[in-house]
């Protein structure tokens, strides 16, 4: 299971692509013709197919088994969506084609937008953000624009301890001062602490609901009312929308802005880390400030794209463009196909089954693993455990690596930070009971081994393409690109 690098097997003379012969012309490259060796190895098509096929087999993936990475919502990726995204009418159109030639594409954006608005009970939606964190940026930009529009220069964003790391990073990136809000012992936002901190300097509260402890924030409406009363806005991290879609509308809870990770709730594939897509639904107060470009359905049924040119008439308060084009079209087609497949009834069932599966895991294991918020009510779509009770020297990491040997992807480790040795398990609604039972059995056995101090566990994984990797070495002496050993030797 060692696959050499392309730089070790390819040559700059080899190619897997044929081209027509170039016609002879007088060069117009000026004096800029590239003369240096670039150093890009080529492979024939056969060798290319083999290299990447063999590499793929060193990955774990949702197509191979349960992938219970908490907060990541690794659900089944239907192949219909891949097929739809590849229709030439979607895959092979340029973002700057005349609008008359892309009415279907604008129609997809508009139809998806309508679904997102109705599912969340909000007023508008910004479709261009490229991922969840980009959506957070979008939401904060809307808030900042709305505040500026009323001449209000608030400088503080409140973020609960249990928030995703992107929340404070986003607020800081936008120039805000970030302040933490503590959690209560039962794993929720400390309402009194929050209320106490609200004031005229607070621009927004960024809150995750369901939160990263896997719990629903019971006081969400009260929080929203308090935030609004203080003249601030509520940003909701929508990473966990999967737990409530079809059963609860964030708009009914007073949320002003929330990003929706299409690659979580609506199943666009993660692809080894991206691309994502993070449309942001907006309340009536924030919608006028959303980014360009924007789609609007006209009375004649045609769909217009609102850009810099016509923004004056249509959306004068827009804060402007936040990416070059219209957003992640390739993800919109997939998400829309997914949404239409489920429909209103199916999406409600999604939330129910996701929550059912998580509670089933929680209650099937809380006798062998510590569930720090097990008494705080049902969990939503993820079950949280801690390392409390493991034998001396045994950690969450050991259990995670042990799961690899059992044929599963590990759960999320050491997150949320508020729980020591956290293990966050999100099965998702696309797992069968049989698959959950197998997983529960495996995790139970690992918990028992870790409690009994089985030293073998500390060497796990044994049955993976690699044993534990030395991350410290990687960070201490970073090797970030391939260096020809011959050249490196010659240089020494």
């Amino acid at each position: 299971l060692e696959e050499k690098l392309i730089f070790e097997i390819g040559s700059t003379d080899t190619t897997g692509v044929d081209f027509a012969v170039s016609p002879a012309v007088d060069s117009r490259l000026g004096n800029l013709a590239r003369t240096d060796a670039i150093g890009l190895p080529g492979l024939s098509e056969q060798e290319t197919v083999r290299h990447y096929t063999r590499l793929s087999r060193q990955n774990y993936a949702i197509d191979l088994g349960l992938f219970p990475l908490g907060s990541c919502t690794m659900k089944h990726n239907p192949r219909l969506n891949e097929k739809v995204a590849r229709m030439p009418g979607f895959a092979d159109i340029h973002p700057l084609q005349p609008q008359s030639t892309v009415q279907g594409a604008l129609g997809v954006i508009n139809e998806l937008a309508v679904w997102l608005i109705k599912l969340t009970g909000m007023h508008g939606v910004a479709m261009t953000p490229k991922a969840g964190a980009h959506g957070e940026l979008c939401g904060l930009l809307c808030i900042r624009a709305a505040l500026e529009a009323r001449g209000d220069a608030r400088q503080v964003v409140l973020v609960p301890e249990s928030a995703h790391g992107t929340n404070p990073a986003t607020a800081a990136f936008c120039g805000y001062k970030v302040e933490d809000i503590p959690a209560t012992p039962d794993g929720r936002v400390d309402l009194e602490a929050l209320k106490a901190r609200l004031g005229p300097d607070v621009a927004a509260v960024m809150i995750t609901n369901p939160n990263t402890c896997g719990l629903f924030e019971r006081d969400m409406k009260v929080i929203s009312d308090a935030v609004h009363a203080a003249g601030a806005f509520v940003y909701c991290d929508g990473a966990n929308f999967n737990a409530i879609v079809g059963r609860v509308r964030p708009g009914d809870l007073g949320v002003d802005a929330m990003h929706i990770n299409l690659h979580k709730t609506f199943s666009t594939p993660h692809g080894g880390g991206g691309p994502g897509s993070g449309p942001v639904v907006l309340s009536e107060a924030l919608a006028p400030f959303g980014p360009l470009p924007y789609t609007a359905r006209m009375e004649d049924g045609s769909i217009h794209l609102i850009e810099e040119e016509n923004v004056g008439a249509e959306m004068p308060q827009s804060f402007g463009r936040m990416s070059a084009f219209h957003g992640q079209m390739g993800m919109f087609t997939r998400a829309l196909a997914y949404i239409l497949s489920h429909g209103a009834d199916g999406l409600r069932q999604v939330a129910e089954d996701a929550v059912l599966n998580a509670n089933y895991v929680l209650r099937s294991l809380d006798d062998v693993l510590d569930a720090p918020f097990g008494a705080s009510g049902p969990c939503m779509h993820e079950a949280l455990f801690s390392d409390k009770g493991l034998a001396e020297g045994f950690t969450t990491l050991d259990i995670a690596k042990g799961l690899i040997d059992e044929g599963f992807h590990p759960m999320t480790m050491y997150f949320p930070l508020v729980v020591h040795g956290a293990m966050l398990v999100e099965p998702t609604e696309t797992e069968s009971k049989a698959a959950l039972d197998q997983f529960i059995l495996a995790l139970r056995s690992l918990a028992e081994r870790a409690k009994a101090g089985d030293e073998a566990l500390k060497g796990a994984p044994y049955h993976a393409p690699r044993r534990r990797l030395d991350e410290t070495l990687a960070a201490r002496k970073p090797v970030l690109s391939w260096i020809d050993p011959d050249l490196a030797e010659a240089a020494e």
């Binding site: 490259l29 895959a91 109705k118 060497g459 690699r466 970073p478």
Partner: protein, 452 residues
């Protein structure tokens, strides 16, 4: 509900294990007034795969796809032929349905690809190191400006008038909130760029100069003087490449002294897709690596001494540093990076050079032909596969009329710069290997008719 495997009897058994009687009992923490009793009104129920496919196909047919017409659009997104094996390989379930490689023991496939991608990108752009990709070229460009601020501790960036106006917009949007000072003017329809002006404007408050290569009008020029001028006062040169295929034919920005080179990688391996997902490229000199945003993959060894790869230098990232992170980026464009890397491997240096040569040759042919159309003037002196024409009419109207005739004839500067009426007759034309001699003739004929 074909994606939901639980049967009703499964659900009952599981509720019993949990110790509740109904699914509603699991939603008790939701305030009663926010609990929806049934499905949300005015939305359809679930549909068969066939029905959904037909609905989507009907929408797709309302678009004129690039393959159906003589096609000459560029301006930041390019139509290139992507070998079928690329799409086949990225659809391998093990690539497509994997997550960020947080567990490297079972993610070596993705990690090795990222390591190879980083190396390919660094070499192509002429830099020491590259990251594992960003959202797209425009956001990568903004991140480069922020990175330059972090490195130089200065807040003033000079944006070349040749920078893609949407990239400028993105930077301006962000700068409104962060307080960065961005100097920018719209371009002039001239074969010469604004390099001399930029050099004159560089001062000790300048964090960086941002220049696009080839630029929005397709112009290319040597960046060395600009790099030298920036370096002379401790500022950085940020180069932006929106058409990486060009670097198979022309000098790399890194080789001309750029400190940070960012770009849009869509041209290689990633389709047009109406603007996204695309692939932000980000590379820089070795000494700035710890200031670089985004994910990085590095080489290491495992407990048995075997070579392996991991995500590294994560102390720069949001999940460790929270509000002190180098950026808020969490997701990358992993699957697009994979497509880029596979396509680049298929090309190899020879294929890339052949591809670039063919693009340039066809572009020269097209430029010569179109410049002969009455009412057309060619702006560019030097160019790669994209050039700008000045027409005797408003170019935006012309592109619309051409579309009605079934020719997708370039991007009007009126679309790109709606508030610069002096550019209204400009048309940016891109010519790639997908353009045939017949396409050029069809375009020339339609344009002749339009301008008559």
């Amino acid at each position: 509900m074909r994606y939901l495997p639980l049967t009703d009897s499964d659900r009952q058994a599981m509720l019993a294990t949990i110790g509740v009687t109904s699914i509603d009992d699991l939603f008790v923490d939701v305030p009663a007034e926010a609990r929806l009793a049934g499905t949300i009104p005015d939305l359809p129920d679930h549909a068969s795969e066939m029905a959904v496919e037909r609905h989507m196909a009907a929408l797709a047919r309302k678009n004129l796809s690039a393959g159906e017409a003589p096609f000459f659009l560029g301006a930041g997104a390019y139509k290139h032929h992507v070998p079928a094996s690329v799409d086949h390989l990225i659809q391998r379930g093990e690539f497509l349905t994997a997550y960020t490689p947080y567990q490297p023991e079972i993610a070596q496939g993705t990690l090795q690809v990222l390591f190879e991608f980083q190396t390919q990108v660094a070499r192509l752009l002429g830099c020491d190191v590259a990251n594992a990709s960003m959202y797209d070229g425009s956001t990568a460009c903004w991140e480069a400006i922020v990175m330059a601020r972090r490195i130089t501790k200065r807040g003033k960036a000079l944006l070349s008038s040749g920078l893609h106006p949407h990239y400028v917009s993105v930077a301006q949007t962000m700068a409104k909130f962060t307080g960065d000072d961005l100097a920018y003017e719209t371009p002039e329809l001239d074969s010469k760029t604004d390099s001399q002006k930029l050099i004159a404007a560089i001062d000790k408050d300048t964090s960086c100069v941002v220049v696009q290569y080839p630029d929005i009008l397709g112009r290319i020029e040597d960046l060395t003087a600009l790099a030298d001028a920036a370096h002379a006062v401790g500022a950085l040169l940020v180069a932006v490449v929106t058409e990486p295929v060009a670097l198979g034919a022309i000098k790399s920005p890194g080789a001309m002294g750029a400190d940070i080179v960012v770009g849009e990688g869509q041209s290689i391996g990633v389709g047009l897709q109406f603007g996204g997902p695309y692939l932000g490229l980000f590379a820089c000199k070795q000494k700035y690596v710890r200031q670089m945003p985004g994910r990085l993959c590095g080489e290491t060894v495992d407990a048995a001494g075997k070579r392996g790869f991991v995500l590294t230098l994560s102390t720069r990232e949001q999940h460790i540093r929270r509000e002190k992170a180098t950026s808020n980026i969490c997701t990358n464009s992993g699957l697009c990076a994979l497509a880029f890397s596979i396509h680049m491997t298929l090309l190899g240096e020879k294929g890339l050079r052949d591809l670039a040569t063919l693009n340039h040759a066809l572009a020269v042919q097209a430029a010569n032909r179109l410049a002969n159309v009455p009412g057309v003037t060619l702006v560019n002196d030097a160019f790669f596969n994209e050039f700008t024409l000045v027409l005797s009419k408003d170019a935006r109207d012309v592109t619309r009329s051409l579309a009605d005739k079934g020719v997708l004839g370039g991007v009007s500067l009126g679309r790109l710069f709606p508030h610069a009426p002096q550019l209204g007759q400009g048309l940016v034309v891109a010519v790639t290997e997908t353009v045939t001699a017949e396409d050029i003739e069809a375009f020339a004929a339609a344009l002749t008719e339009e301008l008559a």
